[in-house]
């Protein structure tokens, strides 16, 4: 994520590092490169101007040219400034004390409103809420059906009234419907619209005026260009948007829009969409994102993801198994499943500090490799998984056939498993297997 911007900064700092000390000319060169990098990252022109001016002042004040390690200082400084632009603290959904909390999802066409609505419902339900989705996109063909299908995957209820009713009336009916039911959150998916489409903007204003939603979230495509600021501004003017969700950040867009929006709008970025699955959804942390932009990795997110995939009981059970050397293929299989819940290999790698430095993020990962290993283990009997030593030649042949793989693949897996087991034997303390 944001790999290009990171690379640019790295190149700038490397050049400075090689020179040792900075003079006024170096500072200007550096600022020039930062400026171009930010513009190419789609940070809004005006924001870049302001940002670079601030950096210039900082650089002069901090007396970089006297420093022994200007590179470190500039990284720190740019990081601090980017964090400042992104907003200084994280911000979650505000839950109304008087349920239901109504959350309105708005945005241009194709930014990912419907997908985000479902992800948000899924996220809130995991935190113990009961969400109902409301389908008000009466304009785009099959939009309501799309919402229903996506919601079904996470077993989320959808309230819809077809495409003939006015959007505001659908929301009203939904409110009435949940009044005597156990839902504390209504997430309203609206039709994509241009900010200059007066008729459709009036539709939003009508919902805003009559329903008074607690949360009005604008979805912004992280690949958006300079115009993102213009459309966002109008949405804010018309319905007073109070939060932003940045979608599709699993692409390679440099995501400059994130920097611009925070600087120009009053609304914080609350969440990010990180993939096509319903749980590919994260809270937006400005300081983490700034670290990520600078290639300092995102260890905090990684740890949190691992923590949510493993509960404490399981970790201690696993530790016992490893200590007593009971770790078998069943456990191995379980670990693979957990890995999948944490994210794709690519997602995990992108969060490792220094990944961009080592060019790890340029490597190609194929998550299907994990699937193949899973298939092989699934083709084993319980006995074989509990006691891999009994897997002889004819069993290997059967397993290969059953999983549609080569015998050599089965051999490789068993060899790897034994290596892992041997490694484990040597360890005395295992706290958070497999990431300690």
């Amino acid at each position: 994520m944001f790999a290009d911007l990171t690379g640019k900064f790295k190149a700038i700092f490397k050049r400075i590092k090689n020179k040792g000390k900075l003079n006024e000319k170096d500072i200007n060169n550096c600022l020039h490169e930062i400026r171009i990098a930010l513009l190419e990252a789609d940070v809004n022109y005006k924001v870049v101007k302001e940002f670079v001016n601030e950096l210039h002042v900082q650089m002069i004040n901090e007396n970089i040219s006297e420093s022994l390690s200007p590179s470190q200082q500039i990284i720190k400084m740019v990081h601090r400034e980017i964090t400042k632009v992104l907003g200084s603290k994280k911000s979650d959904i505000i839950i109304s004390p008087k349920p239901p909390t109504v959350i309105l999802i708005v945005g241009l066409q194709g930014t990912g409103k419907t997908t985000t609505a479902v992800k948000l419902a899924n996220y809130l339900n995991k935190k113990g809420h009961h969400s109902m989705l409301v389908a008000t996109d009466i304009h785009r063909p099959a939009a309501i059906e799309q919402l229903k299908i996506l919601a079904e995957k996470s077993k989320l209820p959808v309230f819809s009234m077809g495409t003939k009713e006015k959007a505001v009336n659908i929301v009203k009916a939904a409110l009435k419907y949940v009044s005597d039911k156990d839902f504390d959150i209504l997430i309203v998916d609206t039709a994509g619209r241009l900010h200059i489409d007066e008729k459709l903007m009036l539709e939003l204003e009508e919902i805003d005026r009559q329903i008074l939603p607690q949360e009005k979230l604008l979805i912004i495509d992280s690949m958006a260009g300079q115009d993102a600021v213009n459309s966002a501004k109008i949405f804010c003017e018309k319905i007073n948007v109070n939060g932003i969700i940045l979608s599709k950040i699993d692409g390679d867009a440099r995501g400059g829009a994130a920097l611009s929006l925070r600087k120009i709008l009053d609304a914080p970025i609350k969440f990010v969409g990180t993939g096509e699955k319903n749980d590919n959804f994260d809270i937006f942390y400005p300081e983490r994102m700034a670290s990520r932009i600078l290639g300092m990795g995102d260890v905090l997110t990684l740890i949190e993801k691992v923590e949510s995939a493993y509960d404490k009981k399981e970790i201690s059970r696993m530790n016992e198994k490893i200590k007593s050397n009971d770790f078998d293929l069943n456990d191995f299989h379980l670990q693979l499943k957990k890995m999948e819940n944490i994210g794709s290999v690519e997602q995990i790698v992108s969060m490792i500090p220094g990944a961009s430095q080592l060019n790890l993020n340029k490597m190609q990962y194929d998550d299907r490799e994990l699937k193949k290993i899973e298939a092989i283990i699934s083709s084993m009997t319980m006995d074989e998984r509990n006691n891999p030593n009994i897997i002889n030649g004819s069993r290997r042949k059967r397993i290969a056939k059953g999983s549609g793989s080569q015998i050599s693949a089965v051999n490789r897996l068993l060899k790897q498993f034994n290596q892992i087991k041997n490694m484990m034997k040597k360890r005395k303390y295992i706290k958070n297997f497999p990431f300690n």
């Binding site: 194709g110 260009g225 599709k248 692409g251």
Partner: protein
Amino acid sequence: MKIVNIFSNFKNGLVKSRENLKDKIEYLIKKSKNKEIFLEQLEELLILSDIGVSATEEIINCFDEINFKEYEKNDFIYFKKKLKKILTDILNHSSPNIKIEKNRLNIIMIVGVNGSGKTSAAGKMAYKFKNENNQLLLIPADTFRAAAIKQLNIMANLAGVEIIKSSEKADPASVVYDGVNAAKARKKNILIIDTAGRLHNKINLMNELKKIKKVIQNAAGNNYSLEILQTIDATMGQNGISQAKSFNESLGVSGIILTKMDGTAKGGIVVAIKKELNIPVKLISFGEQLDNLYYFENEKFINALLD
């Protein structure tokens, strides 16, 4: 009459960006006290249109060579002409627009990132070509996104174009294989394939597209043409270049469909893509009506932008 209509529609779609640019350039030249201020404001204008840093620098350099003292402050026609010429030089391409021939199978495959307007473009294109007296078949090969097949079916019905059956979670390559054979059996001359949106950095998904292309080439026989068109959202920033680059490297993109030109975004990314990758824009799409799709013409595009 029809041509006039098309042209005025085309201009209406562009009216927003045109007014902005025209007014701004006039304003710039009238108000600019000196060259530095003028160049800085021109830079701002160009960057904000998403044409990219490199194209902007090129244009700025051209203006930098001018001796401002020789021109009247309000002589903006000269500057407009010069800007027009620079843009024309960048956008200019000699390859013709989509070439449809009656006695062969013209296959058009639409690709692009999520939410860039593929399905809408497929529906609009079907409508356009049907009105130009072609025999069409649509293939809904987006078997991944929920309700995408239904969306294209609704559009096919509106356009009055045949569409083959497909079901969610089906292998898109096999849907395409069936579609190509159906088109041959039903003696169609145009086959439009709508594919699932995918981010260009997802290797597995890009490989899936390569496979679909191979299936087309194997199944289509001898008498066919294949046009691979990529949708680029006009609101897209510089990542559009990265998108075009990846899709082009995987598939060989023959042209761009510039979508959502009815907003305030200028669609300048098209200039950057042409400049960096030499991929021409072939179609322009805006609005939600079926008939809002036109051949892209550099001359008209630039004129509408500057006149």
